[in-house]
């Protein structure tokens, strides 16, 4: 039963969350809801990346009493996706804050959160 291992399960979760987030972004009308869907999408991508880097029965890439310097290569999971996701999370919060500020600005211009009523973007 190949798909019963934790990397497959978490990857499938990430893919489902990706679809749900995408559905939210294209179907919702409220701008705050769109931003929430975006943050769900963000989380899902982080989950997928980390589960790609996981290797079965291996431990965290930090060297201490359990993992020694010499046998590190045979005992640890892939540290590279983790490093990428680490920066991606921090950028994610910055981008979310920026989008929220735009939403606030749009709200103070138009007095509504519904994107259908933002006339200035229509053509």
């Amino acid at each position: 039963m190949k798909y019963f291992n934790i990397e497959y399960i978490s990857m499938a979760t990430g893919l489902f969350l990706f679809l749900v987030g995408l559905w939210g972004i294209i179907s919702q009308k409220n701008i705050i809801k769109i931003i929430i869907s975006f943050s769900v999408l963000d989380t899902s991508i982080h989950l997928i990346l980390v589960s790609i880097g996981y290797i079965r029965n291996k431990t965290a890439p930090i060297i201490d009493g359990v993992v020694s310097k010499t046998d590190a290569a045979t005992k640890i999971v892939d540290p590279l996706p983790q490093a990428l996701v680490l920066t991606a999370i921090v950028i994610g919060v910055g981008v979310t804050a920026l989008m929220l500020t735009y939403a606030l600005r749009m709200y103070s211009e138009n007095k509504t959160l519904e994107i259908n009523k933002y006339k200035s973007l229509k053509w």
Binding site: F18, R56, I62, D64, I91, G94
Partner: protein, 232 residues
Amino acid sequence: MIRNSILILLIAGMAWILFQEFSAYHGADKLNSISEYYAKNAPTETGAANLVTAIVVTYRGFDTLGEVTILFLTAAIIGFMISTGKKTDRKPEQSNSELLETASNVLLPILILVGVYIFINGHLTPGGGFLGGAVLASAIILWLMSATGPKISHALLEVTEAFSGFGFVILGVLGIVLAGGFLDNKILHLGTFGTLLSAGAIPVIYSLIGLKVGAELSKIIIVLNQTQGEEK
């Protein structure tokens, strides 16, 4: 109706593509070549016990520089976009609880200390500069919530931010001059493996990153807190 069915078709197509990817995926049972290089050489080359830190700070230092720049731009744009409104002083409807003020007096130093611990020990324990910055920003939130202690000065935040960003770049250039390349951590002596001073310049660099991230996140939060409802 037509719009909804198009959306469902779109999602179904996306789901089909993702399913193809998922069924073609095979879990790896050993490290790929580049990660193996990191796992074998990073501890001796950089002296950091946490390989993620070694990758973030030295091997992929440029990524981190760009990331810090993005955060800086975000904070600047948010400050620019919100500060156009007029400030109103609105009284909070419920006064502060005495217990919350006392508890935040107790917890604030501890929170800042934990933040400092996290970013100084970034090369030994999980965490590092980004997380330390986030914990510092949480301390600032607690400070704003309870309104105890001295006022937070904007000038201090700006100076911290500018100083840490500048120091980060200077350290990077020093790496080119004194050691192998940009952000090389061997400009300081590598100590015994596994102690606080073992990783050359990594604690210094991570402290600067932590201070910068903390200052920027706090700036975003202070801007969102202070300018109450825009009135025209």
